[in-house]
Subunit: 336 residues, 2 copies
Amino acid sequence: MKKCNVAVVGATGVVGREILKIVAERKFPFGELKLLASKRSAGMRTSFKDKEYIIEETKPDSFENIDIALFASAEAASEIFASEAVKRGAVVIDNSSTFRMNPEVPLVVPEVNPEDISWHKGIIANPNCSTIQLVVVLKPLHDVAKIKRLVIATYQSVSGWGREAMAELNQQTRDIIAGLVPTIRREILPYQIAFSVIPQIDKFLEDGYTKEEMKMVNETKKIMKDDNIKVTATCVRVPVLVSHCEAVNIEMEKKLSVHQAKEILSKTPGVEVVDDPGELRYPLPTVAAGKDPCYVGRIREDNTVPCGLNLWIVSDNLRKGAALNAVQIAELLIKK
Amino acid sequence: MKKCNVAVVGATGVVGREILKIVAERKFPFGELKLLASKRSAGMRTSFKDKEYIIEETKPDSFENIDIALFASAEAASEIFASEAVKRGAVVIDNSSTFRMNPEVPLVVPEVNPEDISWHKGIIANPNCSTIQLVVVLKPLHDVAKIKRLVIATYQSVSGWGREAMAELNQQTRDIIAGLVPTIRREILPYQIAFSVIPQIDKFLEDGYTKEEMKMVNETKKIMKDDNIKVTATCVRVPVLVSHCEAVNIEMEKKLSVHQAKEILSKTPGVEVVDDPGELRYPLPTVAAGKDPCYVGRIREDNTVPCGLNLWIVSDNLRKGAALNAVQIAELLIKK
């Protein structure tokens, strides 16, 4: 198999670094590897697989001779450089929200809609972290029982907002533990997150929903290819470093018992059922962090509707929610 | 007005201490005040309103000459001593779950069903913290638009599990900040709560729901006097010291616009609307802690059902969720 030349844009960020970890873990067959970032990080050195790399500033020419460009940077970088990469023959796998709802761009979760990579025109979008773990678990249930409506409440870790938000949680926590009033850097998170929760992720839209909430609504429909699935969400930041949790209420057309749902989910690639209330076993963010699966538990029938289920879904938002999903897409591309 | 003699059972616990604070703040007209607790705390001294009190061990005779006994201790104490107090002529206001679903015992939230205190037979139950803040906000909407179904996800602080759980969160946080692996005292909380969330509050029942979740289901119906309201809940512990938050999805018989809901709620006693996305204003646990109202915000129409709303409700679980509600019931009793 031909090894492909890979560029990672945003290689110094939390997702970029996770991509490198996963590339190494999965023995991804890369040839040349270019680590790109903003001007600020250019010149930094990093070692990867016993070789030293120098971080380069992302420029249009950076993508010459690159086969796959994994974008793990801010939206601005994707807006500027994705087309430059495509122009130079690279396939872009973009982790930002820039192209996700573009009808010309496939939005792919390899366990759910791998077939959609076939119609890409140079760019493949990686869905939002909270959407990925949701659809990996819901797709097999939808196939069997047709999901009609979802009511979701999330418990999202600060790493979803980048390294600075993680540092912010740590610093605020240290301050409070030391008896100090924590300094809040409002440009990072709008309010204190240590020992608190914030019911806002990303910006507000006209109708009072946040962008994050609407990502879950719109991306779920696109990935599952079913505009009839009704989705409503409340997205909340919690003082956790890594892993997102989701309380998901499902209405289906067909009744599924807890036993049936467990049986379906335990056979689903990428899903791990952790569900034994008697033994106090259910998914936890501390356990999911650093691991690949989407964990599901607390599977309960919801008898307030004819065919209802409640689930608790947890996954590492940096891995399956971002870096792992992107590398899996790259693996699909290579297989073709 | 005749001053009444008051006993506080569990006076050294987090709720008991909050009761004393509120009795002082609201100038509750008490005559004699007895501070009762378990044998372990007996003999401790505490000062209250410039007077020193000695904590006494709770015994049947402790309730001689007491008019109102506020129980803020474990279920076991209520099971043993509530009837002893009633036998001696006291009215018991019980914060435990022991009598809540007993059809002979009114379950009262003064803003919602004050009329129910009239039929007490010696015991009045104080609802569960997560239920109180829910019904205070929902009752006026139910009166106007009839609630058909609720899907709830909670973000509950550790103080709901008592002072030891608060100490546990603090200690685990200190350990982690110091780079240590935190010691988990599993008899208090089943897993690490610092920098994590735990999707379990109270024990599991046969069907996979927790007791806490079923309290929300059953108590909501009893307080609102409507068995037709369908309720399903997922209750989650978060690393917050005080205040519970709730993401609440509502289906109603009648459509309410955001504007209408805000107008109704802004006139509701005990409720404070904090809802201005443009200014990033919404209820926060850090702001609610130490205050009386049930805060509601993030009011959004949910168009996935004909008449849907999403709300975010936050309140101090030790105050309105426990101590304040109990003292308000006592105030109602005195007025009669």
